[in-house]
Symmetry: C2
Subunit: 454 residues, 2 copies
């Protein structure tokens, strides 16, 4: 029942575009689902996409636009005329999707498109939405919704719904409002279908409705919809008036984006890039953390230079630099990622910081003891120097303890100061733990060598 | 409109539980949303949770069970009687949630509960679902759904719906089947409400319905629902018969779990742990990658030992071990994470491997040139040895090139062999690049020192 996009299919299509064979190309794509078409458009050039796009009929074209990747769509929209875009928005696009599309455009073209839409109400809705911050409930919501006055009965409600439903894609709940448009609750379609025609809406309204305000942050919106298993969420203004609704499919995107952001942060990538982005964008996204790594490496070199004396006494100390640095980095990343995930899942706030640190210390002591013992046994067999053997083991233990406390502490502190704790994962923690690890190792080495050799 | 769970609230509640003050405790919790109650239950002891749980009335109790964290719920279910559990399942729990709950239980208790449910149809549905693999569409779906024969009209359909809707929580679509229960399409509630009583269902059925088979993997189910923006997805057997449906809220959990799994993998954590899990579980989840790091460190020591000669000629070579190791690790993680994300988003398959590697090489060349030049300038000022200065810069460039190709290549290869590519992120890539980085550095050093000093 599903279409599986293959390289062969794309190549065939590109061939047809090259030959400008409109009839064959149209035949190939007109039966496809908009989401599949969008996937195709995402992986061909803008010119090819434009050629295919103009073959699609209005409603399908509009749906494809909605489904496309933002940056690829931006390119396509740039080469389409304001008239074409306006006519597709008029056709079928809900206000939130239209606002998403227009947001990326230059001011003049945005204005031109809004003018050309023609339908004042629709254009006005879109212009309203464009005012909200992208990362808030206002930026996520659509204006189209189905609502009914609490004083009507089911029969009258069905009439109201018929009038409103034309402009809404799908709806799962009917919102109940009073005469001032204040949100009073929701009625599920199930209850409407199961009820009798003369039942008052008020009597079947679920008044324990969860709503958000337009300025609620989008990650909070996602948390609420996920926690309460909602498929749609009403948005109200500061007076409690119903002004929009958010559907779960928009929030799924928010959830994915949040997860991707944290993932890129821990892997040392500063901007939202995808494998399909160009070389320059990738370089720009990766260079900043590498520069920090470079500075860290230079500081590391200075720490080692500071302990030159120790290295002259036993050059074999240098053998374990990579081990110490790597273990500090790994332990730090483990600890910090657990904290970041806990914060994202809203668990952390309910535990006290000291309890958290104590537990991390326990884990570090366990892991540290095991790993230190192992390297101790290894060195007993393979190293000639008992001082070095002891130094490496004790230092490894100390580094693991330090790295784990540091990796726990930093994201917690950032979170307290309302800075994204994910900043403290990946290269940041690794770099600092590298340097501190080497410092601890050489510091302990100096003490042990002076104690045990004299 | 929402309840914000605080530490104070939990402490107050625990106080009441300690005093066994049922009246006050009940007053405090009976107005809460099940999701909030579940959050409270997740952060108190099992005994406290049991005390509170037994104060809840049937339907609320059932909902709380569904919302709880799996491992915490397991503890609570263990201390509840089979009779209690069965009565709550009978009350209100849909088949998929009931199956999720029973799955974790010992065989005998599972049997006992199924027997005590009483309603043969409901117990049978649950027993059916227990047969499916947890990670497939069969494991995600619920048996309760609303369906109608394609030959009926809207008026008759409403009658059918009234009969079926009692046992379903919410529904957004009515599934259309033929006389053999073969899935023919869907009708949205909107269409039913907007249509006329004598309209044939067949004529308003959307036949381009997307369905999955019971054995479809759950990550594929998530991808499909996300891509096509579905709130519910029908599940069919090998003959095309409709046997269940999956709703978006279950899939949101799958999406979150997948993202968390990748995140934990890149941060070097092997099992699914949360900050609330105990010390032992954390140690067990973190130790494996640390052991690999330890072995890597020992190999690193052997590589350095192998180049002892070079270190005797210029001990300052050791100064840049941390720099070289860190940069190799960072670059490797960046490259591999981009590939892993691309694979997860289904983008990678559409690009050829050679194109991918070429692009990574370009990015690495850009970043490598910039970073090598910087460290070259630094060493020109701060190092006495021109040979060392050249060695460090050339080696850094080479290490960045190697790490980036390796970080791209390994996850692609794993993916080709159907192994989770996320395995090749984090500590794995870091460890190998650490060792290879040191090897490349010292290898280049040996060549340069012999060339330039003689």
């Amino acid at each position: 029942m599903q279409f599986k996009l293959t390289n062969e299919f794309i190549e065939e299509l590109r061939g047809l575009v090259k030959q400008e064979d409109k009839t064959q190309a149209e035949k190939l794509i007109k039966e496809l689902h908009p989401a599949d078409l969008a996937e195709i458009f995402d992986s061909i050039t803008t010119e090819e996409a434009k050629f295919l796009y103009l073959l699609l009929d209005g409603e399908l074209a509009a749906d494809v636009l909605i489904e496309m990747e933002e940056d690829v769509r931006e390119h396509l929209l740039n080469v389409l005329s304001a008239e074409d875009i306006a006519s597709h928005i008029r056709e079928n696009i809900e206000s939130d999707d239209a606002a998403d599309m227009l947001m990326e455009m230059p001011e003049e073209k945005k204005e031109e498109i809004l003018q050309k839409i023609g339908d004042i109400e629709q254009a006005g809705d879109i212009a309203d939405l464009l005012k909200y911050d992208e990362d808030t409930a206002g930026g996520l919501m659509a204006k189209e919704l189905v609502k009914v006055n609490e004083n009507r009965d089911i029969a009258a409600c069905f009439k109201d719904i018929r009038k409103q439903a034309e402009e809404v894609d799908e709806f799962y709940y009917v919102y109940v409002v009073d005469d001032d448009n204040i949100l009073k609750g929701i009625v599920s379609l199930k209850k409407l279908i199961l009820g009798r025609p003369n039942t008052k809406i008020k009597s079947i309204t679920n008044t324990e409705v969860i709503a958000v305000r337009t300025d609620t942050r989008s990650d909070e919106v996602a948390n609420i919809m996920e926690k309460y298993d909602l498929v749609s969420l009403p948005v109200i203004d500061q007076f409690g008036r119903l002004i929009g609704r958010i559907t779960i499919d928009d929030v799924v995107d928010v959830i994915k984006e949040e997860a991707e952001k944290d993932y890129q942060m821990i892997s040392g990538i500063t901007e939202d890039v995808e494998s399909s982005d160009n070389t320059f964008m990738h370089t720009r996204a990766r260079l900043p953390w590498l520069l920090i790594g470079l500075v860290g490496g230079i500081l590391g070199a200075q720490v080692i230079g500071f302990f030159e004396e120790s290295l002259r006494i036993d050059p074999n100390i240098a053998l374990f630099f990579p081990l110490i640095a790597a273990m500090g980095g790994n332990v730090g990343v483990q600890s910090s990622s657990i904290v970041v995930q806990g914060i994202a899942a809203n668990i952390i706030d309910l535990q006290s910081t000291s309890k958290k640190l104590l537990k991390e210390l326990l884990i570090a002591m366990l892991n540290g003891s095991i790993l230190s013992s192992l390297i101790f046994v290894y060195n007993l067999f393979f190293s000639d120097s008992f001082v070095l053997t002891t130094t490496v083991s004790v230092a490894l233990f100390a580094v693991i303890m330090f790295a784990s406390v540091f990796g726990t502490f930093v994201p917690l502190v950032l979170h307290k100061f309302k800075i994204d704790p994910a900043l403290a994962t990946g290269p940041f923690i690794t770099t600092i733990n590298d340097i501190m690890g080497i410092f601890i190792y050489l510091g302990i080495g100096r003490i042990f060598y002076s104690l045990l050799l004299i």
